[in-house]
Assembly symmetry: C2
Homo-oligomer: 377 residues x 2
């Protein structure tokens, strides 16, 4: 660590424990300015390919480039359009080609400056170019800071569904500068907040209760924000360390996502109608009420979930999505094609109450159908 | 293992030792007929997506399909054109899409029936669809049986060079049926033989001497063939186990490949002019003579290498390639863009004699240039 780095306040550090592939997530205000020194310390002599989107190019790209320049880290920048539709084949191909054209080597780094879209796409590029380059995440959305930048899942969408093509490729470092979130739109901030709440709902009822009390400080940029990001990262890191390649425990992270992904697909990933975290918020409320309908979860818990999500301004019902949704049968077909299907049986994350989620691999299609039809009316 | 499997003679088995990712390479005549039972035993209940090329579709595809049918393994088949140019982005995209459209799940298997082209492409598809499906190799060329099907390197070419985009994705099983090689063209057989000879040249002088004596049996399909394939696989498996992700020892496998790849690129991967193994043959002879010119290797050893390769009908000189080659400066630029470049210095596999290869990371551009210019005259 160099002088520049130690001059600033020590950031929160969450270690993701994956043997040879272990890495740190650093969390704090102002970390972006240290990116260059930290990259240099971690990968001496390496160059960087920054991958970012148009929105970040207008807000935080210059600060990152300046930090790299100051540390003497050579870099090139590749911009992609903002939005979910960027996670597609043609962008993946173009970026692989760009990185190769810049003559970057395996020991160089791909740096993702952006939300989950940029992180997932850039991560897949880093995984694939020369069969694996160094990868550094500088997550700029709340969702990316608490979720997508942790755990090494990378990928793009296919016309058959979201995230169906990709790789497990762990970053070497994650720099979560919470000050970057100040420029995030309120809608995107809320969407990311759904994932924060998710960690409470999975297995940490105390954290959910803390969120009920302290959510305002997270939104306004108080110290609660760092606490929420660090707690979330720690929760995800623990689950990922247990199950790097998603064969078991990691499925819990999909709480709210089976319904959520189906809704995103149902609106054709049209971000005007529904962004990922909103789908997750609706999905989590649905998962709780589905669990209530199966006699697993107390009605009160479902209402607390609904109330809290609504309090921060998140949608909780399919009817909150503007425009027409497809029929329930179609939603079910989308769910069945989702990647969390094992040998034809439907897998859902159900719950026995707040903080008591579990994986259920034998959910009958009929019971989901009946539940959804009741919801639709 | 089922009755059908144990009825046939036990195949040679080479274990690739990679912890959780360990797998067996089975080598023997007639193994293709057991593919279905073996797949069922390894992955009960799984379906298979066979990826193959047009030539294999005419020769051995039916036998594979029949074996899967007999074992009750459901399957779909996707065909690609034969030849190196198939290892490209558009094919990768199409196949990912095909596998998803067939609704295959993570626990299902991609089965590559073909040479290195099909294996590399199908392997990258298996690595990427749903972030990693089961992968089974049924290598059908000599090169694929002794080299490309072992070790988990998968990928496609980019316009910046060969194999620049891909993944490390180990197969779950490799079935090397040596009888399949009976339909391989003599030219392709010879090309694969270059890789067999390579294992002797790397670190097994006895094996090279054995090849000098026994090469005819390998070509004609005697028991020498299984011995040569098994010895080669064992050699590669040992090196791969030491260095799964090619950070050190594995580089030795590139003996002859730095020059070879440059020549392949120089003829635009035109297989009429040069196939991979031919490039390797020329490259190995060049590596030995380059080592002689550096005072590392005895002239006699280089002549033995040249004589043996010529004996089996392989090219050994750039002038053996029909048509015009680019100037040496251009060849060097191609070498410098090759993926084996680390921080700008040229890496070559040099040798102190037959069976005594080593990695040299600090080869000066000028000395390669001088050597190539002498060769070109
Ligand atoms: N890899 C994983 O484990 C994982 C986990 C969860 C979600 N995801 C993926 O993440 C994606 C969603 O991520 P997201 O919500 O960050 O979407 P996003 O990347 O599209 O970002 C949302 C919007 O906010 C903008 N933005 C981001 N940071 C900003 C900032 N600091 N200031 C101003 N604008 C900013 C972006 O340009 C974009 O328009 C989805 O594709 C989802 O599949 C991946
Ligand atoms: N992944 C690795 O570790 C690795 C190692 C070495 C080479 N490779 C790759 O392997 C490729 C070369 O492999 P290849 O030489 O097998 O080429 P190939 O797959 O193109 O096969 C050569 C030709 O032989 C035909 N063929 C294959 N088996 C046959 C059979 N049994 N009967 C009749 N025809 C048959 C094919 O259709 C093709 O026309 C290159 O792309 C190279 O980069 C990869
Ligand atoms: Zn999510
Ligand atoms: Zn080779």
């Amino acid at each position: 660590m160099t002088a520049q780095v130690t001059e600033t306040e020590a950031p929160d550090t969450v270690r993701v424990d994956l043997g040879e592939r272990s890495y740190d997530i650093l969390i704090g205000r102002g970390l972006l300015a240290e990116a260059g020194e930290r990259l240099k310390a971690l990968l001496p002599g390496s160059r960087a390919a920054i991958i970012t989107d148009e929105n970040l190019a207008k807000t935080h790209l210059e600060a990152l480039q300046a930090s790299l320049d100051e540390a003497g880290v050579k870099h090139v920048t590749f911009k992609v359009p903002a939005g979910e539709s960027t996670k597609r084949f043609s962008m993946f191909e173009r970026l692989c080609d760009d990185v190769l054209a810049a003559k970057l080597e395996r020991g160089d780094a791909v740096v993702a400056l952006g939300g989950g879209v940029v992180g997932d796409l850039a991560g897949f590029v880093a995984a694939s170019v020369r069969r694996g380059m160094n990868f550094i995440q500088v997550p700029t959305s709340l969702l990316a800071q608490v979720d997508s930048s942790v755990g090494g899942k990378t990928g793009i969408n296919s016309r058959h569904g979201k995230n169906l093509i990709g790789a497990f490729h762990q970053p070497r470092l994650v720099l979560a500068d919470t000050a970057l979130l100040d420029t995030l739109s309120p809608r995107e901030f809320r969407a990311g907040y759904a994932e924060v709440a998710k960690y409470g709902l999975i297995d940490d009822a105390d954290f959910f209760a803390w969120l009920e009390e302290n959510h305002e400080g997270i939104f306004s940029g108080g110290a609660e924000r760092e606490h929420a990001v660090a707690t979330s990262c720690r929760a995800k890191a623990r689950i990922v360390a247990e199950d790097e390649f998603e064969t078991g425990a990691r499925a819990l992270l999909n709480l709210g996502h089976t319904f959520g992904h189906a809704l995103e697909a149902a609106v054709d990933y049209n971000g005007e109608r529904l962004v990922h975290g909103e789908g997750v918020a609706i999905g989590m409320r649905l998962a709780h009420d589905f669990s209530v309908s199966l006699g697993l979860c107390a009605e009160d818990d479902a209402r607390r979930v609904e109330a809290h999500l609504q309090k921060v301004g998140l949608p909780t019902h399919m009817s909150d999505i503007p425009g027409q949704l497809p029929p329930t049968e179609t939603l079910l077909d989308i769910i069945a094609q989702d990647k969390k299907v094992t040998k034809g049986a439907l897998t859902f994350i159900l719950t026995r109450g707040i903080g008591r989620s579990f994986v259920e691999r034998n959910v009958e299609r009929e019971s989901v159908l009946a539940f959804l039809e009741k919801e639709m009316n």
